[in-house]
Symmetry: C2
Subunit: 200 residues, 2 copies
């Protein structure tokens, strides 16, 4: 069982472009972070989606999710994604870290609102029943999970773009952590590096 922080970033370390949020997804220009997810260039509201995830990008993703039993994400990401249309699309329950738990959705949606990280990690680990737990964005959740020593692995997808602004994955993060490169997947759309956390 591993806790895997998983995130797409730009070459300059941003996980969104400027102005992300509800209705704006990944922010200005931020959709380029997810060309690898869609299999090519796309924009919000376009009627012509690319062909979909393929090749090394799909191999990376399939390997990542193969053993996932539960996940965590931040409230900002949940809102920015429009709650994925109202139903959790991932395997296992998704624990949403939020101080505003009063508007929690029906548990049947697959989303569970939790207001502290330690509890969310406990619940996710229990729900995963020995399988892996993913820690998705936003950046602040990943920083909290890293700082708290919860993270066993980092799966980072580096998109070939310099965004010059947005939310930075390591903003204000001051811990020193040794990593081990366990696998790299390369495509034209992203460089995916899987790291194991060795020491922090």
């Amino acid at each position: 069982m591993s806790v895997i922080a998983t995130i797409s970033t730009s070459v300059d370390g941003y996980v969104t472009g400027p102005g992300d949020g509800p209705g704006c997804g990944l922010g200005q220009g931020g959709e380029r972070l997810h060309h690898w997810v869609m299999g090519g260039p796309w924009t919000y509201g376009s009627e012509h989606d690319p062909a979909g995830m393929a090749g090394p990008d799909k191999e990376f993703y399939d390997d990542l999710v193969a053993n996932l039993g539960a996940g965590l994400c931040g409230r900002g990401m949940y809102d920015a994604a429009g709650a994925w249309g109202g139903t959790n699309p991932f395997d296992g329950p998704l624990f949403v870290l939020t101080h505003r738990t009063e508007d929690a959705p029906d548990p049947a949606t697959g989303f569970v609102f939790v207001d502290d990280l330690a509890t969310a990690m406990q619940l996710a680990t229990a729900a995963a029943e020995g399988r892996d737990v993913s820690v998705g964005g936003g950046a602040d959740l990943i920083r909290q999970a890293l700082a708290g020593g919860y993270v066993d692995e980092i799966a980072m997808s580096i998109a070939p773009v310099v965004l010059g602004g947005g939310k930075h994955l390591f903003e204000g993060f001051t811990h020193d952590i040794d990593l081990e490169i366990t696998r790299v997947y390369t495509s034209e759309l992203a460089t995916h590096v899987r790291y194991a956390v060795k020491r922090q």
Copy 2:
């Protein structure tokens, strides 16, 4: 002929650890950025160096320098490196960008002090005679060169470490640049990604 920005960074985007400078090289813990250069773990002042650059790290480096005709670096990097013992170890002249040109070394050393980027780029391009020009650190020089539109390619070596402090490659950089991944070299010590600058 290509202008290639070349730099090693941590996973969190630092090109040095905290407290870099003359006598301190890459700063606290920063030597881990260059494990790939030395072929393994090393520390300043150690009498036992590792075996030296090897495998995919050497392949990346050899490909990078194969066609270099001149280089640029910043004064901070020149000083931090102790002027490489007093003689330019690289192929072709190394143009050192500095406002303090009064203490320029003898040209026979292979170092040329220049006090503005445009002139340094011109001189380096002329000296390279059609071969490539490298733009090394520090981070501020690479940002200036990127912002000025001088850079055709970025060769980034990402070491498996989170430094949590130091000099950040993209500190204060606000340009949006599309890149194309042209080649990736992977070893246990670094992930080397070569990008072409497509648009900025």
